[in-house]
């Protein structure tokens, strides 16, 4: 309860800070390199080079180094591709939007990030192997303790389909998105609610948002549950429960010239009890920080 109270305090603090910030509109969106508008039917390519890390909350899991961050998007009149999300926008007006989409669920990224299968993200999904060789995997797993991402049974990548609704105001946005596994991997879903606040001062663009995520019991059980497939210790068995995570995200960019900009990003996501109760999860939060130079082609 104390952790939840702390999270609520952070969210309230963010909202108060936002409300007191000065607001500068970008007079000419075309000249605002890091704004949220893109030309129809054209690709947006960008790459950020810098130093950063995303912590991994899993036992034995590698932190994810952030050296190169791509930004790839294409927007047609209704269809779009935006950093791995492929979708179709059914409603788009100045103050409301609604779209449906598919994307790869990123939960799997925390499991053995440096393994080759994590680079070729779809390989396990296509093969449909869970585990690839059940008997062998089980033999290996049963003989090894303590439990880490290295010795649990493989988790597969999943593909989610989703629907998202946005409500826009001058400098704020609320959106709610529902995701459901359509790959038959974890047979569940998750729900996200986001509040964004964006503003600009000359040469600088800022974005802060808070996100509340509900993850279904089946999602948590599949990725963070511990069964006899994962361990031979009954003490470590864990049946996943639905959970709520709360995150704070901040981004600042400073225009250098038409193509280059400084990019600074930081975020913290507090994990709910459903995740932190799992013996695989050893950290109660995920932190991300990145500082670098971004080039837009």
């Amino acid at each position: 309860m104390q952790a939840l109270a702390t999270r609520i305090k952070y969210v309230l603090l963010l909202l108060i800070v936002n409300a007191s910030l000065p607001v500068f509109a970008c007079e000419n969106p075309k000249n605002c390199r890091d704004n949220e508008y893109v030309e129809n039917n054209s690709w947006e390519f960008g790459v950020a080079i810098g130093a950063g890390v995303r912590t991994n909350p899993l036992s034995g899991g590698d932190d994810i180094p952030l050296v190169l961050i791509p930004d790839i998007a294409w927007y047609g009149d209704n269809a779009y591709f935006d950093n791995g999300e492929l979708g179709y926008q059914w409603v788009q007006s100045n103050d409301f939007a609604l779209e449906t989409f598919i994307e790869i669920n990123r939960e799997r990224a925390f499991f053995s990030f440096w393994h080759p299968e994590n680079i070729f993200v779809n390989s396990n999904f296509i093969e449909g192997s869970f585990p690839a060789s059940p008997q062998d995997d089980r033999q290996n797993i049963l003989s090894s303790t303590p439990i880490t991402v290295e010795n649990v049974a493989k988790r597969r990548w999943a593909v989610d389909a989703g629907i998202r609704a946005h409500k826009y105001f001058d400098h704020t946005e609320f959106n709610v998105a529902l995701f459901y596994d359509v790959s038959g991997t974890y047979d569940g879903g998750h729900l996200e609610a986001n509040y964004y606040y964006r503003w600009q001062i000359p040469k600088w663009a800022f974005s802060v948002n808070t996100r509340v995520t509900w993850k279904s019991e089946s999602l948590i059980d599949y990725y963070y549950g511990v069964s006899l497939m994962d361990t031979n210790s009954f003490d470590l068995l864990y049946s996943g429960e639905s959970t709520v995570n709360v995150g704070l995200y901040a981004k600042a960019s400073r225009t250098i010239n038409e193509n280059w900009q400084w990019l600074i990003m930081a975020s913290t996501e507090w994990l709910g009890d459903g995740m932190t109760d799992s013996p695989i999860v050893v950290e109660s939060e995920i932190n991300t920080v990145f500082v670098g130079l971004a080039y837009r082609f």
Binding site: P29, D34, E36, E39, G46, D71, D82, G87, N209
Partner: protein
């Protein structure tokens, strides 16, 4: 205290002069007339208008060399590409150009001496369509 009305009038006059100058700078002349190297050139129009972004804009340029005493041929280049060379007295009245973006028009003597240079602009009737991005740029998680 008697100086105040004069001061206000002076400030008002300065403001009017500056605002008039700003307006003049914002509106590009449709007919450009200039004198370089003792020659007077006039060029019109300097802005081509087309419907959509990425559409080629074609226009006929009216170029006049007034009171010309140039002995050499003059050549016209658009962004470095030659549109032709003529004796100054026989230069066609209209020259057709196609623009995909703002381009530089340069008139040179055959010996390479630049006589005249002007940027030709392009304007679109239909504004460039833009959409709001669904995800924040650089959003990776």
């Amino acid at each position: 205290m008697g100086y105040k009305p004069q001061l206000y009038i002076l400030i008002l006059c300065i403001s009017i002069v500056f605002s008039a100058r700003t307006d003049a700078q914002q509106n590009k002349p449709m007919v450009l007339q200039t004198t370089l190297h003792g020659q007077t050139f006039s060029l019109s129009p300097t802005t081509c208008v087309t419907n959509k972004n990425d559409e080629t804009c074609q226009m006929d340029l009216h170029i006049v060399l007034e009171d010309s005493s140039i002995k050499e041929n003059v050549c016209i280049f658009l962004s470095g590409t030659s549109l032709g060379c003529w004796f100054s007295q026989t230069m066609p009245e209209f020259i057709s150009v196609k623009l995909l973006r703002a381009q530089q028009l340069v008139i040179k003597e055959e010996n390479g001496k630049t006589l005249f240079s002007q940027t030709l602009f392009i304007k679109y009737i239909e504004p460039i369509k833009k959409r709001r991005r669904i995800n924040n740029p650089w959003s990776i998680f």
